[in-house]
Structures are given as C-alpha cells and as structure tokens.
C-alpha cells in the first residue's frame, strides 16, 4: 500500500483537525493564525498533489490517482485557497461594515477543509461506497457554511433550503446507485459500466443519479434553489459555492459518465445537449432581470454550468481536457468577480447592481479587474473565458450538435449584454457627489490583482491547456485500455 498517493487528502484532513484544535487553544487576539494554518495546509496539499505519482491505486482499487483526478484536485485546492483568503477579512472582523453573527474562523476553516477533503476523495473514488461518502463529506459542511450567520434570517433560510434540497438530491443519487448495484452485482464503478446493458431499470437508475447531480450542478430544471442560497449565504461562502459546489457536481458527473458509463456515453449525447442548452438559456435569460449582484451571479453560474457539461459530449481526451481547462478558467474568473464583490460589500455593505455606479471613478483598478473578469465570463477574446468556451464549443461541434453550438453562441451574446450592465454602472454612470476612493486590504488587493492577471494569462498562454490535455491523454490511455 502506497499511502503517498493519498498524501494530499491526508494533509487537508490533518490541517482541518489542526485548525479546529488551534481554535480551542489560541486566544481570541491571535485568531489570525488560523487562516495561516489553513492556507499553509492547502498549499502543502497542493504541493503534495503536484508531486504525487500520476497513476496508482489504493485499497484494492477503491481509490485511484490519475491525470484527470490530479487536475481536479489541484483545482479544488486552488478554489479552497482563494476562498480562505477572501473570507479572512470578514471572519476576523476587519470588514469596514460590521456584519453581525459572522466569526468563528476556527470552525469555518475546519468545515471548509473538510469539504475540500471530500471533493478530493470524490474524484479519486472508484467505488459506490467511497463515492457516496465523499460526496456527502463534500456537501454536508456546505449546508452549515451557508447558514453561517446565525442571527441573520436570510442566511438561516439559505441553509434550510440548501439542506433540504441537498438531502433530497443525495437520496435520489443513492437510490439510483442502489439500482445500478443491483443490476451489476458490484460496487466498483468500472465493473458496473461493463456489466449493465441498456434496460428500463438502467435508464431509471441513470435518470435518478443524473437528477441528483443536476441539483448539485444546478442544471435546469434542478436549479431553483441556487438563487436563494447564493443570496442568503455569506458572500465568501457564495463564492465558494459557485465554484466548489459546481466543481463537485462536475467531478461526480465525471465519475458517473467517464469512469462508469463510458461504454454507453454515446446514448447520452442528445439528452446532455438538451440539458446544456436549457441550462445556459434559462440562466442567462433570468440573470438579465436580477438586481442583487449575488443573485445575479447565481444565474450567471447556472448558465456557466450549462457550458461546462458540454465537455461530456466527447468521450475522450479532448472532452476531458476542454472541461478541466474551462473549470480552471471558471474558478479563476468567477472568484475574481467575487473577490471584487466581497471587497465592495466589506467596505460599503452594498450588494445591489446599481450601487456599483461610479466605481471606475473612485477605484479604477478594482473596476478594471472586475471588468476584465466579467468580460472573460462573457467570453470575449482574447480573455481566458473565450478560449475555454471555444474548446467546449468545438467539442459539441465535433459531436455533431451544431444546433447546440448555435444556441451557445446566442447565449454568449445575451450574457455579454447583462455582464455589460455592471460594467456600465461602474464606468458610465456618474459616481455619487461625495464618493471617496475606498481602501482595500493588502491580501485582498493582491488576490484580485493576481486573479485578474491570471484571467488574461490563461487566455494567451497555451501552456495550461497543453498540460491539461497531456494529463487527460494519460488518463484516456489508461481508461480505454
């Protein structure tokens, strides 16, 4: 047994315990150390994941490491690291606008790290038991995080809705997995994929699992919880939900389609195309009329999920690589937008879109970073969002779904319109009379700057996509053998 393969997960779990334990021991004044512990642990896990071998199995093949799994893990860790940085100011009470009922950084980081560990185990799991348990480990702490502001009714309401929908989704997934187990007589994903043949029971099971994952990934028609949960949760948690919960859903779908149902994937292409088309269209159309920026980002995230699942239409290296690359782009870009939102809400407490007016006058650099990120989400060349979308669209095109490419292109145009609404508020609308430049913390400013640069670099430097493609090729070579 080569436990080095599991080192990243073990480091994350150890860090979670360390953060929780340190919370008991340190005095209230030195709570800053907790963020340092969390950041250090995630960085160490990132290094470990980079250094880990690119192939191998543990526990009789129930836990595997391969090129695709490593990329997912690195992306999860990246999202976790950035979220800790974004949460720091609010949790340590350094936001200018006092938010009541937020705090408890020790528990917060512990739960965040547990979700990270769950997500990392999820992408390595090759067995129904480990798959299900890690999915729950990745989502259960998120319910608590969404309800973090104990004396805020909206946060509690977000938590209530999230816990009900999440539990319902996991019941669907579990029932579907149970039927698959019954059809195949094995809990190993690959064995199930080989043993099942298309039959009514198989389609029922697959539909149940897909519905459950649809809830997690906010695929239309299972998206309705997202807006309320995103709006009610504390903003850093919303940022984390928008990238991490989505990445978890994508990882689970990856497990389902690529590790389990690879032999039957062709049959899914039409359904996936329809789901992708409705998801991106509905997300876009509803986003237009939103006035709260967190709610707006919720619908934007729904439409992005529609783009993301296009990668499943090609069961091979190209599909995996395009999906992983777009996930990377999406994490960087969306967190860049959320970093600006968090900064603005920390400084002013404002969350409505029209309250962003004149930001370019008072804080030109912040407005520039936010504009770059928004344009990347819309997919304007040469930013990374365009490149990522281009690869995904070419997957759909290669799969023969030209109508989907047309729908996606129309959607990109619609999304440009509503992302421009924010840019218009920042750049064209006049600032208030007495508006003064808002200060910004050093860590937050550094993250926003780095993310904005990354949004551009990912678009013009082909190295990242080449790496993702190379590792995905390693995975396909092993999976199709």
């Amino acid at each position: 047994m080569n436990f080095w393969l599991m080192l990243p997960e073990l480091v994350v779990i150890a860090t979670a315990f360390a953060a929780g334990g340190a919370d008991l021991l340190v005095a209230d004044r030195s709570r800053r150390a907790l963020a340092a512990i969390a950041l250090g642990g995630i960085a160490a896990a990132f290094t470990a994941a980079l250094a880990a071998p690119l192939g191998g199995a543990l526990f009789g093949g129930r836990f595997i490491v391969d090129g695709a799994a490593r990329w997912f893990k690195l992306l999860f860790l990246l999202a976790g690291f950035l979220t800790v940085v974004l949460s720091k100011d609010l949790l340590e009470g350094r936001a200018r606008v006092r938010v009541r009922g937020i705090g408890f950084p020790g528990e917060y980081y512990t739960l965040l790290l547990f979700t990270l560990a769950g997500m990392m185990c999820l992408i390595s799991a090759t067995d129904i038991v480990t798959l299900y348990v890690s999915l729950e480990l990745a989502t259960l702490p998120l319910f608590v995080l969404a309800a973090w502001r104990r004396d805020d009714a909206r946060s509690g309401e977000a938590g209530l809705k999230y816990v009900i929908v999440g539990a319902l989704a996991s019941a669907f997934i579990l029932y579907g997995l149970g039927i698959l187990y019954g059809l195949a007589g094995s809990t190993a994903l690959a064995a199930i994929g080989r043993a099942v043949a298309p039959s009514p029971a198989f389609w029922l099971a697959a539909a149940l699992v897909l519905a459950g994952v649809g809830f997690k990934l906010t695929i239309v028609p299972f998206h309705m919880w997202a807006a309320d949960v995103y709006e009610g949760a504390p903003t850093p948690v919303t940022a984390y939900l928008s990238v991490a919960s989505k990445a978890t859903g994508l990882a689970f779908l990856f497990q389902l389609f690529f590790r389990m149902l690879l032999p039957h994937l062709e049959a899914w292409t039409p359904l996936l195309a329809i789901l992708a088309a409705t998801t991106m269209t509905l997300g876009n159309v509803v986003a237009i009329v939103q006035s709260n920026i967190k709610r707006f980002m919720a619908f934007s995230a729904i439409s992005q999920a529609g783009y993301l699942i296009m990668g499943f239409m090609a069961p091979g290296t190209d599909g995996v690589a395009a999906m992983i690359f777009y996930l990377l782009v999406y994490i960087v870009t969306n967190l860049a937008v959320f970093a600006c939102i968090i900064w603005y809400s920390n400084e002013t407490g404002r969350e409505r879109i029209e309250e962003y007016r004149g930001l370019a006058r008072t804080n030109p650099l912040m407005a520039l970073a936010m504009m770059v990120a928004l344009f990347s989400l819309a997919g304007i060349p040469p930013l990374s969002g365009f490149v990522g979308k281009f690869f995904l669209f070419s997957i759909a095109s290669a799969a023969g779904c030209h109508w989907l490419v047309a729908v996606a292109a129309v959607n990109t145009t619609i999304s440009l319109y509503y992302y421009l609404r924010i840019v218009r508020q920042m750049y064209i609308e006049p600032a208030e009379e007495d508006a003064a430049p808002l200060p910004s913390g050093r860590a937050l400013a550094a993250v926003i700057g780095a993310l904005a640069v990354a949004v551009v670099l990912l678009g013009i430097v082909p190295w990242f996509y080449a790496q993702a493609h190379a590792h995905a090729a390693l995975w396909t070579a092993a999976a199709l053998r």
Binding site: Y132, L140, G156, V163, A171, L177, T187
Partner: protein
Amino acid sequence: MLEFLAAHKPGHVEWLLLSATLFAIGLYGVLTRRNAVGILISVELMLNSAALNFVVFNRFVAPAACDGQITAIFVIAVAAAEVVVGMAIFVALFRHRGTIDVNRMNTMKD
C-alpha cells in the same frame, strides 16, 4: 391466505416493492409537508429505502460479497449526519424567526 403466507418467503420482488413504496412515501412527504422537520423525516425515509435496496440486492444478486451491507451501514451514518446538520440549522432558524414553515421561507424573492 395463511397457508400461502406460511409457504411463501418474500423474494426480491416483494422487498423491492417495499423499498419503492418507502421511497414514494418519502417523496410524497417532501412535496407535501410544510414543516421543515417533517421534510427532513421524509428525506430520511427515502435514504433508508435506498439503503434497503442495497441490502436486498446484496442478498439476492451478489450474496458472495458484502458490499451492499457495508454501503447500508455507511448510509445510516451519513443519514444521521444529515439529520444533525439539518436540525442544527432548523433550531438556529427557529430561534430567530419563530417558524420553520417552508411556505414562509420567502424573504429573498425579487
């Protein structure tokens, strides 16, 4: 009737019907209950029906290994964790709002 029942052992069909019924009852409860705790109870019913599925398939499809039973144990543990998290959130919300009626959870509509 009695002779039939005495001679007839429930097979996988009966067990699967039972689990499907449990799942349907749970789903009905989720859709009709207004109290969040009631919804959580109904979800537990659905989770347990899925766990029952695993045990039944273990017994009738793959009796050589015990994967299904192991899964059922993990499902019990996960369901317990889900209830704990859900109830904690409900209690916190109840203290603040004085209700956990899901029909009144509409403070965030635009």
